[in-house]
């Protein structure tokens, strides 16, 4: 599978935009900061950290000249599962991110409380992805930073 083969199925071509990258990186950073706050609920913190992961995955796509087709179901899944193709993220890390996506889906619709373990993992993974992505951009797309 390559990114190109997903065009029209789950991806669309979109020129890389330094403005979009800067906006999303800034928003992701703010979401991560919110996720670390201790005076808000686990559910809100989880949601914020998950949003950051999704935004960072969107940056990775945009830096490669793509965006998800947001009118198709599963665009979160697409952004996360293409991370090995966009920035070379290891498959094992993507499995964890994908399971967090699933966890969010389950709790969002059931109204169940989010376990602390999922919140911790989500914040840890958001921070790690932010670091990896920024390093990747610096090496591979310095013009976008």
């Amino acid at each position: 599978m390559s990114l190109k083969t997903l065009v029209g199925i789950s991806l669309d071509e979109a020129p890389a935009s330094p403005e979009a990258v800067a906006r999303l990186l800034k928003a992701a950073k703010a979401q991560i900061a919110d996720a670390k706050a201790t005076n808000i609920s686990a559910e809100t913190r989880f949601g914020a950290a998950y949003s950051a992961i999704r935004m960072l995955a969107d940056v990775a796509l945009n830096a490669n000249g793509y965006r998800t087709l947001t009118n198709r179901p599963g665009h979160h899944q697409t952004a996360i599962q293409t991370l090995p193709l966009t920035i070379g993220l290891p498959a094992q890390t993507v499995q964890i991110l994908d399971s967090l996506r699933k966890q969010r889906h389950v709790t969002e619709y059931s109204g169940d409380l989010v376990p602390e373990s999922a919140v911790l993992e989500c914040v840890t993974q958001a921070l790690a992805l932010q670091t990896v992505l920024r390093a990747w951009l610096k090496t591979n797309r310095p013009n976008l930073l």
Binding site: Q92, I96, Q103, D112, L113, P115, E116, S117, A118, E121
Partner: protein, 206 residues
Amino acid sequence: MEATSTNPASLLFPASYRRRVLCLLLLHPERALHVREIARLTGTTAGTLNKELARLHAAGLLTRESVGNQVRYAADRASPIYAELAGILRKTIGLADVLADALAPSAPTLSVALVFGSVARGSETARSDVDVLLIGSLTFGDAVQLLYPAQATVGREINPMVFSAEEWRTRLKAKDPFAREVLAKPKIFLIGNEDELENLGRHQPR
């Protein structure tokens, strides 16, 4: 609780082809598959499988349907022993053993591990996930790394819910609906048992 040579299901169903076919079809009763698909999914050969499928059909455990020039087999849910047989497979080689083996490397960090939700109730559909509750000191990431590879074997997505013993106790005290539902509804234990689960809620940590 590892899968060993004294596993009750291996003892009761000594023919490995029969065991694999029953696990595949009875635990995914919505699937009607032709011989080659069954061979591929169970890692068996079509020749020997044909005979086995014919026997299981003759015994009333499988339905047989011709679609064009293909013959498709599926679990016969109308069989009077379907629910019991599927239950035995689910609690042993078809699901619980696979998950218990996957969790084995981290077993010392777990007080209780169990399957809850539709699969544990035997009311799963084609899209149902396997919901697994883990109480112990492992991280969510650890749980995913352990269980992710088992998804291919059980043919379903596995959704772990990981709690520390302390968080679980707090939830029980707060009468959290999720925790209460898990306690009240059918479960398949992978590590620990009903008593240990109850004790977790009762005692204070050391």
